[in-house]
């Protein structure tokens, strides 16, 4: 026998950690979604697609503003000392991914607002003529548009990457402690964003392009997930035990059914058939991809907290 028992029973800590609930999963999903939206919309602006007034890059920043605000509300709900949220903005702690994230989130807003100002509804221009001048200035030269597109892509990528680094920097939770995690979250954010924009895009050509892009993101995401699992399996005992939570443990059913099968593989097959004109484009695949992205965050947040180092001393 080998038994380790202790007398501690702290709330949210024992029998295993559960400090972060749905709020963090929702935030990580929305953060990833907005990151993907900023990268895709920034790419559209950078490549001169703003000439087409129906381009979804005019709509996406508004939705992204709402989504990131909901995400930040979710983060705020998670804080135990809500009135002290401003403490994060009195300092910059360069060793803390969360501090980086807090400041990146502040940069996301002005970038998205500049994106929104590229083209506003005519009624707004009627009431606020100055806004038209701003829009005209922003659209006045190719280099300004390219700069806006590039900055959107960079800030979007930073946001997407940090959501993964946030967890992977916590070495005490073996299942998070992989440098693949930021790639997974960034790719998942891109695939969710491509799926979302595919739903709201107004032009057939753009929808086809996004479906193709989404297929690439999904294939890449699948490869990243497999490599993440391989990385853990070829690591030390603590990480092997941690990945068992996803392979055969408590989280394996939800992971393989909802994240891998229904969230990646099946929508990929549907979309591959759609882009090859075998079946029509429907909303089913994009919705599955987004739900898969959300459930991925829930699984990683929850299973990561269940993974732990062993305090055993006897060997």
């Amino acid at each position: 026998m080998h038994e380790l028992v202790n007398t501690r029973h702290n709330l949210q800590i024992d029998p295993h950690l559960h400090i972060w609930g749905w709020e963090i999963g929702v935030y990580l999903f929305l953060g990833g979604l907005v990151a993907g939206m900023m990268i895709i919309s920034g790419f559209f602006i950078f490549t001169g697609r703003t000439k087409n007034t129906k381009c979804s890059c005019f709509l996406i920043p508004i939705i992204a503003l709402i989504a990131i605000s909901l995400g930040m509300l979710s983060l705020f709900l998670d804080l135990e000392h809500k009135l002290y949220v401003w403490r994060m903005y009195l300092t910059f702690q360069w060793t803390s991914p969360m501090s980086w994230g807090a400041w990146i989130l502040l940069l996301v807003y002005p970038v998205l607002i500049v994106n929104v100002l590229l083209k506003l509804p005519e009624e707004l221009y009627g009431n606020f003529p100055h806004l038209r001048k701003i829009s005209e200035y922003l659209n006045s030269s190719h280099s300004i548009l390219q700069t806006i597109g590039m900055i959107s892509m960079i800030i979007g990528a930073s946001l997407g990457m940090y959501t993964g680094v946030l967890l992977s920097a916590l070495g005490a939770r073996p299942l998070w402690n992989s440098s693949m995690l930021w790639i997974l979250f960034l790719t998942s954010g891109l695939s969710s964003a491509a799926a979302f924009i595919h739903l709201v895009a107004r032009e057939e050509e753009e929808r086809r392009m996004l479906a193709k892009a989404d297929n690439s993101f999904l294939i890449f995401e699948f490869v990243v997930i497999m490599l993440l699992l391989v990385g853990f399996l070829t690591s030390d005992q603590v990480h092997i035990e941690a990945v068992k939570l996803l392979l055969s443990g408590e989280y394996s059913a939800i992971f393989w059914v909802f994240v891998v099968s229904l969230g990646i593989v099946i929508p990929l097959i549907i979309q591959l058939m759609a882009v090859n004109n075998k079946i029509r484009h429907t909303v089913i695949a994009p919705i599955m991809v987004m739900l898969g992205g959300l459930i991925l965050r829930f699984v990683i947040v929850s299973a990561g907290q269940a993974s732990h180092w062993s305090g055993q001393v006897f060997r």
């Binding site: 026998m1 080998h2 038994e3 380790l4 028992v5 202790n6 007398t7 501690r8 029973h9 702290n10 709330l11 949210q12 800590i13 024992d14 950690l17 400090i19 972060w20 998670d78 804080l79 135990e80 000392h81 809500k82 002290y84 949220v85 403490r87 994060m88 009195l90 300092t91 702690q93 060793t95 803390s96 991914p97 969360m98 501090s99 994230g101 807090a102 920097a169 916590l170 070495g171 005490a172 939770r173 030390d236 603590v238 907290q305 732990h308 180092w309 062993s310 305090g311 055993q312 001393v313 006897f314």
Partner: protein, 179 residues
């Protein structure tokens, strides 16, 4: 500069939990929470069993992930003996430090800030021992400056076999257990 640490003799500890009670009283630890606790590890096959009883708490690590991950600068290494502390009035309750600790030594105080063992900083700054040590009936716990080769803790580590907890996590814990 001093480097405070603890050296705990597992051959003497009987798991009476006096240290746990003393800590709760001294630090007004809220009901349902503990800053220190007892671990019982048993291994072997009956009747050849071996057991180690340990009084555990925050390890005041030399490489503390809880300090590095704090976005508010609330978690910090104090000037007094490298003790890891929390500025309660800077903590936003994000819980990153709790997730960062491989020992699960931290918890959320019901008032909304992270809390844990402080080595009874209020006592050691007055030259007293931490409350847990001051009440130990078997004198199994020792507190002192690990940087001072003449201190009792350094001398014990010099002559006795010892281990710390989860060294593989790389946090360089400063609580040692004599075996």
């Amino acid at each position: 500069m001093a480097r405070y640490g603890m050296v705990i003799d597992t051959k003497k500890c009987v798991g009476c939990m006096d240290c746990v009670v003393a800590c709760k009283v001294e630090n007004n630890v809220p009901e349902g929470y503990n800053r220190d606790w007892i671990s019982y590890e048993t291994a072997g096959k009956f009747p050849k069993l071996r057991q180690e009883i340990r009084s555990e708490r925050c390890n005041h690590c030399d490489n503390p992930p809880c300090v590095y991950c704090c976005p508010c600068g609330a978690s910090h290494i104090a000037e007094t003996g490298g003790v890891v502390l929390i500025h309660e009035d800077k903590c936003s309750g994000c819980k990153a430090c709790i997730a960062a600790c491989p020992y699960n030594a931290r918890f959320m105080h019901p008032e909304g800030y992270a809390a844990k063992c402080t080595f009874c900083i209020q006592r050691i700054e007055k030259g007293e021992l931490p409350a847990c040590i001051s009440v130990c009936p078997t004198y199994c716990m020792n507190f002192g400056d690990l940087d001072d080769p003449q201190s009792k803790v350094s001398q014990l580590l010099e002559i006795r076999k010892h281990h710390c907890l989860i060294p593989a996590a790389g946090t360089k814990p400063q609580i040692y257990y004599l075996t």
